[in-house]
């Protein structure tokens, strides 16, 4: 019962934060919640299907630009419509991209996703008339559950209704993902992660399951991307840049991809740590690089692996080579 209690306590703490924490810290929680949704999806791919994507900023970008386009060009302000449209567009783009990428594994999969991410980045950067190029596209304030909230000061809107709306999306996304990873589908993904050749002899179609996982993770990334938009207020190509893909992989490793909530914890620590380090030293990427190296070497199970050694840590250690499952030779 410890696990559910901790999760419940965390949700309550997040819900109470606007009442007790400073506005500054509450505002930092908004990107955290958006990234939490992104990472729940990314970890379906990484932690459960064993595929490392270096191009998921593509889908974050799709979600964010969907919101920006709908609010700026089509005068659609409903966040519910934006989230649904982002999810649908994310799935639509993920289908052909995933169909190509999941035929490959390991570094080849990672490089292909990176390539598609860069194609999208270049598209939004260069098609200035459509996307606003490097200046981006405004993400106008969306309405929440049919309420316009235009008259409300921006900060009040973000730390009030928008904060709780984001929390609601995170809770729903978490519950959905929890069901997915504990479903027969989730079990099949884990068999593919551990030993694809064996999974195939059991009649589990490896490529088909990887494709489904890819599309689901893209939908989560697009929804998270759409949530990122309103706090920023302007969507630009940096959201789709490869370093952004690297950041979310970093968050996943930081928290630990071997546990369900690891990447969510990673997102929280990443955002607050980045904010703190940036305020202390100008070379924050240097510090972050050192932290990542230390995690890979000393805590392969991530932060949650330190708290909960055992299965998670053993699995992560296995990925480093000790007792690793049979490798798939196909590039």
């Amino acid at each position: 019962m410890t696990g559910p209690l901790v999760v419940a306590a965390a949700v309550v703490a997040i819900a109470l934060a606007p009442l007790v924490a400073s506005t500054y810290h509450v505002l930092l929680m908004l990107p955290f919640m958006a990234y939490a949704v992104v990472l729940l999806g990314l970890n379906l791919l990484l932690g459960y299907a064993g595929l490392v994507s270096f191009g998921h900023a593509l889908f974050i970008g799709i979600g964010a630009y969907t919101g920006a386009f709908l609010t700026s060009h089509f005068k659609i302000r409903s966040l519910e419509v934006i989230l649904i449209a982002a999810a649908a567009l994310g799935a639509l783009v993920a289908a052909p991209v995933g169909a190509l990428c999941v035929r490959y594994v390991k570094i080849y999969f990672g490089m292909l996703t990176l390539a598609f991410g860069m194609v999208f980045y270049t598209f939004v950067l260069k098609f200035y008339r459509l996307t606003g190029g490097d200046e981006g596209t405004p993400f106008l304030r969306p309405s929440l559950l049919g309420r316009s909230l235009e008259a409300m000061p921006k900060t009040d809107y973000l730390v009030g209704p928008y904060y709780y709306y984001s929390l609601g999306v995170v809770v729903v996304a978490t519950l959905c993902m929890w069901r997915i990873v504990h479903s027969p589908f989730g079990l099949c993904l884990k068999t593919i992660r551990d030993n694809p050749a064996k999974a195939e002899t059991l009649g589990i179609g490896v490529t088909r399951f990887r494709f489904h996982a890819f599309v689901i993770s893209a939908v989560y990334a697009a929804v998270g991307g759409a949530l990122l938009g309103p706090p920023i207020g302007n969507v630009d190509p940096t959201l789709a840049y490869w370093t952004h893909s690297g950041n979310i992989v970093f968050m996943t490793l930081l928290g630990g991809f071997t546990s369900f909530f690891g990447p969510v914890v990673g997102a929280f620590v990443f955002i607050y740590l980045q904010n703190w380090v940036m305020s202390v030293v100008p070379y924050w990427r240097l510090i972050f690089g050192a932290i990542l190296a230390a995690i890979v070497i000393f805590a392969p199970g991530g932060l949650l692996g330190l708290v909960r050694p055992g299965r998670a840590a053993v699995r992560a250690a296995g990925r480093r080579g000790a007792g690793a499952p049979p490798a798939e030779s196909r590039p």
Binding site: P184, L187, E200
Partner: protein, 252 residues
């Protein structure tokens, strides 16, 4: 015949691993393939299970040409296999491994929001197989933590959990202690009766096991079928024993 191979040939560059191998396995048969290292036994199993395409020749399972079906299609058609080297899911428990096989057999793998724990059919069948293979008390253990013999047993048990019509076993007792080999084979035979398995085709080096359990033995040598007959006929052929098994086996 449930499984028929005709004129199988496999070339790796200039090396001919299989050269015109033809065989059949009928319903109710326990067939063993024997031969020295490099005879082509594992290559043959890999071709029969769709893992490796032959350079020439055909394989028919239940009257159907298997070319292009692949391991997934064959598993759905009723063919299961285990590997010479243990193939397990290291980070899944024993029960999860068996559940995965049952989920695949029942075609429930695409159920996204269904509860695995709440699927009574899957739970019941997985527990039945665990019991059949005497793995019940280890059902919560991670596969990577099992002793080598139990890993082998789990590999085979997951194949049985598919309730196949034929199972191809690549050295089912390799890595198992000599004392446990008979127990493993007894478990296999008992399990095959319980699930209504029609045929077993195994590659095995332990001649005690081969002679004790086989209805028919196929001897391979340098990629060719040297003999195909009942154990008594194989044992009586001294030339065959010398060539395929080696002198040590004369005592059998």
């Amino acid at each position: 015949m449930i499984l028929v191979a005709e004129g199988l040939r496999k070339l790796y560059g200039e090396f001919c691993a299989l050269d015109g191998v033809s065989l059949g396995v009928g319903a109710g048969e326990f067939v063993s393939i024997i031969g020295p290292n490099g005879a082509g036994k594992s290559t043959l199993i890999n071709i029969l299970t769709g893992l490796t395409p032959p350079s020439a020749g055909t394989v028919r399972f239940k009257e159907r040409e298997i070319h292009g079906l692949g391991p997934v299609g064959l598993a759905r058609l009723g063919m299961a296999r285990s590997f010479q080297l243990v193939h397990i899911f290291p980070d899944l428990t024993v029960l999860e491994t068996l559940q995965a096989a049952v989920v695949a057999r029942l075609g429930r793998g695409t159920r996204l929001f269904a509860s695995l724990a709440g699927d009574r059919d899957v739970q019941r069948e997985a527990l039945e197989v665990a019991e059949l293979f005497r793995l019940s008390d280890k059902r919560g253990a991670l596969a990577r933590h099992l002793p080598q013999g139990d890993k082998k047993l789990l590999d085979v048990a997951s194949a049985f959990a598919l309730r196949p019509e034929i199972i191809l076993l690549d050295e089912p007792t390799s890595g198992v202690s000599t004392a446990d080999k008979t127990a493993v084979m007894e478990t296999l035979v008992e399990a095959s009766k319980r699930i209504g398995l029609q045929a077993i085709l195994q590659v095995e080096h332990d001649m005690d096991i081969v002679f004790a359990y086989s209805d028919r033995i196929i001897a391979l040598h340098q990629g060719k079928v040297l003999a195909d007959g009942p154990p008594s006929a194989i044992q009586a052929d001294r030339y065959l024993i010398d060539t395929v098994i080696g002198r040590r086996a004369r005592t059998h």
